[in-house]
Symmetry: C2
Subunit: 313 residues, 2 copies
């Protein structure tokens, strides 16, 4: 094809944009090759890299086939260990769990950037602040952008091909002055973002349509949030799965072993503690979880499928 | 007593120096209240803070009474966890394991100082170099001094009253351009140092007497150094104990559990690996170790006793 012909095709494509938009929208599910009203679900392992225990359990989650995506905390002590595992399992669907907080009592980390370059993100010991609120209160946006870009680049340098970006404790997404950095870095690296459709309600009304047109949004985001008894764990998950509707859903799980290390990481925190994470691991690797997904006609997908769709010419 | 009388006493003391030095020297053992030729032994747990596993096992070592001293790696991820334990057990004898290297394959740490202030100590990822040789090759002494002082101050800030200084992988002691920093910081903080008498042979001959007069030296330093079978572990330790002579001896042990975490910390390194450290723990907490010490007439002491002796007016 001559270059002038390519120009003609491109012009025709541009001219076609309006009529195509008027037609019934092709759903994300259809673009991914599924029926228009498919209930898509990403089963997502959070906090990979925080500890050896979290790595071992998350690897089990991936190996069981139940977990379709996960994300890594690049500044944490056990990130290089998981990166080594990833290099031996390059098909894993792994994104960057943007980390700007260090929430445990005695187990801490700071940034990937030199401390002198991100002073607003660090406490007197060079550790991140423990809560999203404290981080948001101190954070200078330019330093956040530098640190987050450094986390993504560090992961890439250690061999990871990120499938998406998401956010530890929500910090970069729920802080209005930081969210634009998250959106910008998604574009810069060509990566989809964890962005719940509900989040649109927090931005000015006149920006919502443009954002909805530019970003893939999650129609449903599910996670066990408060401590509950072991007995009701599968029941609570079944309630969530029953609620999932057509479109893109994500179920966040936190997988770790209830061992010496993880008990000490999460000391004083039964919520999201070691026993909690072991229950999550036991549940997602159980036949009951598979049966629930099947019974509710859930289609498992990964962030990588969405990234690849975004990058299609 | 009037001040002039104090002056007289001090003058008399100064005048007495020469005759006292000519008499048979009071041994360190006597100064500590033991017979002149007592075989003193510090049983020392190295590498505390490197992992949760190391902390748990070292705490067991202290609790068993077999370990008399230990030292902490302040830049490591699990140092704050051990510091919290120490604050609940303030009688523990704990020094600073000056750390300028990060030797494991996938489990890394950098300095306590902001990375921008100690660039000569860090690799491209902000981690210490893996060997004493690589650290020595890159290290700018002023940056070493800044980082080591920061490690000591961080430990003190987290509540530790250090009993001594020693050195991870020997870096600061075996590197001629760094050893003066070690000696200087011992004086500055009023702390005894791990200094084997043999080390004197590495300094110019005309400095040896002055150093021997100023510092408490170890007459014997013992450690299992090369991989050996489980069967011979107690035998090897018995050989060492049998060799110990009068004066100050130190036996360095590395205590950890042979668990998921420690196996991954020490992956690819059977020497000083997880199983090795579990064997050390099993040995030092065994009745056999106590019996050997008794059979060879060993007197257990701690670094804190030597520190307190140094600080006596």
């Amino acid at each position: 094809m001559r270059s002038s012909a390519i120009g003609t095709v491109l012009s025709a494509a541009v001219l076609c944009v309006t009529p195509v938009m008027v037609r019934a929208q092709t759903t994300l599910a259809q673009k991914l090759g599924y029926p228009a009203t498919a209930k898509l679900l990403i089963v997502h392992a959070d906090d990979i890299g925080v500890s050896r225990s979290q790595n071992v359990a998350s690897e089990k989650g991936f190996a069981s086939g139940a977990v379709t995506s996960g994300s890594v905390m690049v500044p944490c002590p056990w990130f290089p260990d998981f990166a080594a595992y990833y290099r031996e399992h390059p098909g894993l669907d792994v994104g960057i769990h943007i980390t700007l907080t260090a929430e445990w009592d005695y187990y801490k980390w700071g940034g990937v950037s030199p401390a002198g370059e991100i002073p607003s993100l660090l406490d007197e010991y060079g550790h991140f602040y423990p809560t999203a609120e404290a981080a948001a209160q101190h954070a200078v946006p330019a330093e956040v952008e530098k640190e987050v870009r450094a986390q993504i680049q560090r992961a890439i340098a250690l061999g990871i091909k990120p499938s998406h970006l998401d956010t530890h404790m929500g910090t970069i997404l729920v802080t209005p002055q930081l969210a634009p950095i998250y959106l910008k870095l998604g574009k810069e690296f060509g990566l989809p973002l964890l962005l719940p459709r509900e989040w649109l309600q927090t931005v000015p009304a006149d920006q919502r349509d443009a954002l909805a047109a530019q970003y893939v949004l999650l129609d449903g985001l599910y996670m066990i949030e408060a401590a509950d008894s072991t007995k009701t764990w599968p029941l609570r998950y079944e309630e969530m799965i029953a609620q999932m509707g057509p479109g893109l859903n994500e179920l966040i799980v936190h997988l770790a072993l209830d061992d010496t290390e993880m008990q000490a990481v999460t000391v004083n925190h039964p919520d999201f503690g070691a026993a909690w994470r072991q229950r999550d691991l036991d549940f997602v690797t159980s036949p009951a979880f598979k049966q629930m997904l099947k019974a509710h006609d859930i289609t498992l997908v990964s962030w990588g499928q969405i990234r690849d769709l975004m990058r299609r010419p």
